[in-house]
């Protein structure tokens, strides 16, 4: 089954796009089929119920009670901590 990852940022098209592309690249590398969707931070709750992601990668602060694992996507923008973030994402992608 394809893993679903939701990427959120303020506008949904700028930094979320960069992070979403990075996640697709990582999924390809570890050979896990993935579906990545992007949304605005304000749309996040609605998208969780319709898209049912296994993971959320957010470039903005998001509520803590979403019931889905949330990782910060900022390391893919700043470069600082990018390897660590990649390892965490790979771990989620490879979970059953």
């Amino acid at each position: 089954m394809k893993k679903r990852v939701l990427v959120a940022c303020g506008t949904s098209i700028a930094t979320a796009t960069v992070v979403a592309e990075k996640i697709k690249e990582i999924a390809k590398e570890v050979n896990v089929p993935v579906v990545v969707a992007q949304c605005k931070a304000s749309e996040i709750r609605g998208r969780i119920s319709t898209f049912t992601p296994a993971l959320i990668v957010a470039n903005t602060p998001v509520p803590k009670d979403l019931g889905v694992l949330v990782l910060s996507g900022i390391p893919f923008l700043s470069g600082v901590g990018a390897d660590k973030l990649k390892a965490k994402i790979v771990a989620v992608l490879k979970e059953d």
């Binding site: 506008t11 700028a14 900022i74 700043s78 470069g79 600082v80």
Partner: protein, 168 residues
């Protein structure tokens, strides 16, 4: 021979000399956004509403990036305020504080401000990916911070954002 693509059309659309302020003298993030927004507006890349919308958005969704050495910020806002793709670049002698992206409790001392006028477009994705790659290279950021002239800054961005240098 090295691919020194000096002025590929693709990148001229994004960073141009009239969109660069060096040195940028600003007392705050808001001040920096206002000055760069004026450049974008003069070049008809954004609507008059862009500056206030970007300042307001910065309060909610901050854009200071905690890069390795030289802090960068990428203020931007919704596509409805954008007319044409462009990046206005300001290099500050004295850094200003931006709130950190994704972490409102922290701030970043920023020396390079890239004010983004991003429309929804195919080329936007590639340019943003390359821009982010630039931010992850301390050498590139040092080169921008030390460039001293708009022409040099346009050249550096041109080399890194150019579609011709694809793949890297």
């Amino acid at each position: 021979m090295g691919a020194q693509a000096m002025s590929p059309k693709s990148q001229e659309l994004w960073v141009r000399e009239e969109l660069v302020i060096v040195p940028l003298q600003a007392v705050s993030a808001t001040d920096a956004i206002t000055q760069l927004g004026a450049k974008l507006q003069a070049a008809r890349c954004v609507k008059e509403s862009w500056v206030q919308a970007t300042i307001d958005r910065e309060e909610v969704f901050a854009t200071g990036l905690p890069t390795k050495e030289i802090g960068v910020a990428i203020p931007h806002t919704d596509v409805v305020h954008v007319l044409k793709q462009a990046i206005a670049v300001g290099v500050l002698e004295e850094p200003v504080e931006f709130m950190e992206m994704g972490n409102p409790d922290s701030t970043v001392l920023v020396r390079i401000v890239c004010a983004l006028a991003v429309p929804r477009s195919e080329s936007m994705v590639k340019v943003l990916q390359r821009l982010v790659k630039m931010f992850q290279s301390p050498e590139t950021l040092r080169a921008i911070a030390g460039a001293g002239s708009a022409a040099k800054i346009v050249e550096i961005f041109g080399q890194h954002l150019s579609i011709k240098l694809g793949g890297k």
